[in-house]
Symmetry: C2
């Protein structure tokens, strides 16, 4: 394809803008302990002070800090031990100046105490007498009521992913259920007379349906649920039927194959015939991946993805993945989250101006850093993807990169 061709097509930046206009799928309510990786559909506010009581964060003695002022190894402060607090117990004693109450990590601070002296800085002379060897400060080794979250405070934001720590917050607030965005169903259609199901031995000139399987792996990693609808033969009716089924059952449609001139036109024809459809993109200025199609049918995105396996994967990583994340409700901040590592390029790489080139990279440790070794090879060769750890982008206005250049590797 020539440079001129690329001037007619859409830039990735414009494609990403179109993606951000897609509406998110609906919401559902889920058990909190099953919610890891899902996206919050509502802000979460704390209904309580967390913790609800002031607690010791060390094993030791609850005291009034001022009673320890000036204490040292050579000049210990003397305390009277007036009781102890067991874990999970409400203290029955209170602490006056010069008094100490034995307390374990997590124990509830007794009335009057404002500080905990670590057991390592004390020596009990007998059952009732304690030496303290270190001067403490108010709130030392104490977690105050409301120090983690105050009642009414917004603690988690809509559009952010639920990680294990967010699950912990929900648990701390007693939220056994959580409102999240539904996982979008992403229909996968393969197209082409030459494509056969993988369990079939391909005849001479036929190919197994590899893309359906790479896409079935990529979709869940982006937050979607893959639904494979099968292989459409190269005729209008077959692809039209599967597309209509996909739009009825799924939130997004991926059609792979049909990237040759003839079948591309053919896919376009089917897409244009779908109800309330609009071709948004026909060709993107990235390589590999130029013959990508993006259509809107109603409020759903339908992608036409190249048939070559590595082209299909690159297109998925740079365009389809953010579109799935977008309809999953992920906020824009998180969409741009860091999944890149810097590395030093191992060799010169040429590129064509006017398009973004994506090059497969294997990462090698070299010295304290990482070396990015380009994996070259035709875009139909899947072994190049197996060897690769990620991709680098060469910008549209660049003629290439030199050996030793600092690059950012988008990890798979």
């Amino acid at each position: 394809m020539t440079e001129k061709d690329f001037l007619k097509v859409t830039t990735l930046k414009v494609v990403l803008k179109l993606i951000f206009a897609l509406p998110s799928v609906g919401e559902e309510v889920l058990a909190s302990d099953q919610s890891v990786g899902r996206i919050l559909a509502r802000d979460v506010f704390s209904g309580i002070d967390l913790p609800e009581f002031s607690r010791a964060t060390m094993d030791g003695y609850a005291v009034q800090a001022r009673s320890t002022f000036g204490a040292s190894e050579s000049m210990p402060a003397l305390f009277t031990i007036v009781g102890s607090v067991e874990m999970g117990e409400i203290p029955t004693v209170s602490v006056e100046p010069g008094q100490a109450v034995r307390i374990a990590t997590g124990g509830m601070l007794p009335q009057g105490a404002d500080s905990v002296v670590m057991v390592e800085h004390t020596q009990a002379l007998d059952e009732h007498t304690l030496e303290v060897f270190k001067s403490g400060a108010p709130l030392q080794h104490v977690m105050e009521a409301g120090e983690d979250f105050k009642k009414g405070e917004k603690v988690l934001a809509r559009g952010s992913p639920i990680r294990p720590q967010e699950m912990g917050v929900l648990a701390a607030l007693g939220q056994t259920r959580v409102e999240v965005y539904r996982q979008p169903v992403v229909a996968i259609i393969s197209s082409g007379d030459e494509i056969v199901p993988i369990e079939q031995t391909p005849g001479l000139s036929q190919l197994r349906d590899v893309n359906a399987h790479t896409l079935a792996g990529l979709v869940p990693l982006s937050g979607g649920i893959p639904r494979y609808l099968g292989i459409a033969k190269d005729n209008f009716d077959d692809l039209d039927r599967l597309c209509r089924q996909a739009l009825a059952e799924a939130d997004m449609v991926l059609i792979s194959g049909g990237s040759s001139v003839g079948s591309r036109d053919f896919t376009l024809e089917v897409l244009q015939g779908l109800p309330d459809s609009e071709i948004l993109v026909h060709g993107v200025s990235v390589s590999p991946g130029k013959p990508t199609i993006l259509a809107r049918c109603g409020k759903k995105a339908v992608w036409g993805i190249p048939g070559q396996v590595t082209s299909a994967m690159v297109v998925f990583h740079v365009m389809v993945r953010p579109s799935i994340q977008r309809i999953c409700g992920l906020c824009e901040d998180e969409l741009g989250k860091i999944n890149e590592v810097p590395a030093v390029l191992s060799r010169n790489l040429a590129s064509v101006q006017g398009r973004e080139d994506y090059v497969r990279i294997r990462l090698l440790r070299r010295g304290g850093g990482l070396c990015a070794e380009p994996i070259l090879g035709k875009s139909g060769l899947i072994h190049t993807m197996v060897k690769a750890d990620g991709l680098i982008r060469i910008d549209r206005d660049s003629e290439g990169l030199e050996e030793g250049a600092e690059v950012k590797v988008m990890l798979f």
Copy 2:
């Protein structure tokens, strides 16, 4: 805890060595299209040449390259069009010198042809006559039979994770099923008289069982299946009973809580009483996370994890996660895989020599790079983990790090 205490305890390096000695769980057979994220239990060899036939990688004309030698815009080479190859069709024509056969991307190369001329570099004068404007080379725009994988070649290695591209390889080879390591079941036990289930409103001095929920989120992200067994009260029989149940049902056991001096001894006592048990580690020179216990019961690891929520998460990230990955069968190379990003520290950070300090970090974009902003706060405060994107390590022999230092952030 004093510096002296840390000298009695185990270093992380030794803990990781102990982890690598754990045996992996058994194998199972899975549908290939459900295998993303799983670990291969066997090497995979190709039973076929891939592709099985030589194919065009561009739309154009199949020719003998030598017939194009010397062709240019001003001096086109003339060809006779002798037929065409449809996708999925076995060519019925063969190509002699000076002859061309129309072919689409993915089409099977006809006998005699060794090269494809892109359609953009040609002009058909009539149905039978073609001008070619560019000199081609043998194998140009052709993917040869066996170029991706040769029959008998090892294509995927035992112990490596199945990513979407590995699923693609399995599909290309017609492998609908794949042998993977079973996902280990990881039992989660919480302990402590003060801990109540999250659906319960904690009485004054009680706490909801937060750790069970953060661990239920962390375990699947490491490849395991969490199984929550409930809360053990602070008595020997209760914890002993749950531990025996856990060892019967699970491949690994996590006991959180019991990190205070009294309950720590108590947990030790239970672990020592289990059949064929050995305490491997009692205290690790990391902070937070010092009071960690690792025992071996039969061939299974039992972890005692601190009760403080952030300590528990740090211990999980630096020790428990690699131990789960190890018994999942992940090879050592992959265990050390890059999940770190470099950043510049935003402020000075003090540390105690003789232990590894783990500091929670928020990443901010600054200029072209990343700024690592430490999140300070008590290890019981879960909001510090919600704000954090990852952890940095301060080495045992360091007294701290200075503002502007280059750090590596382990991403959550």
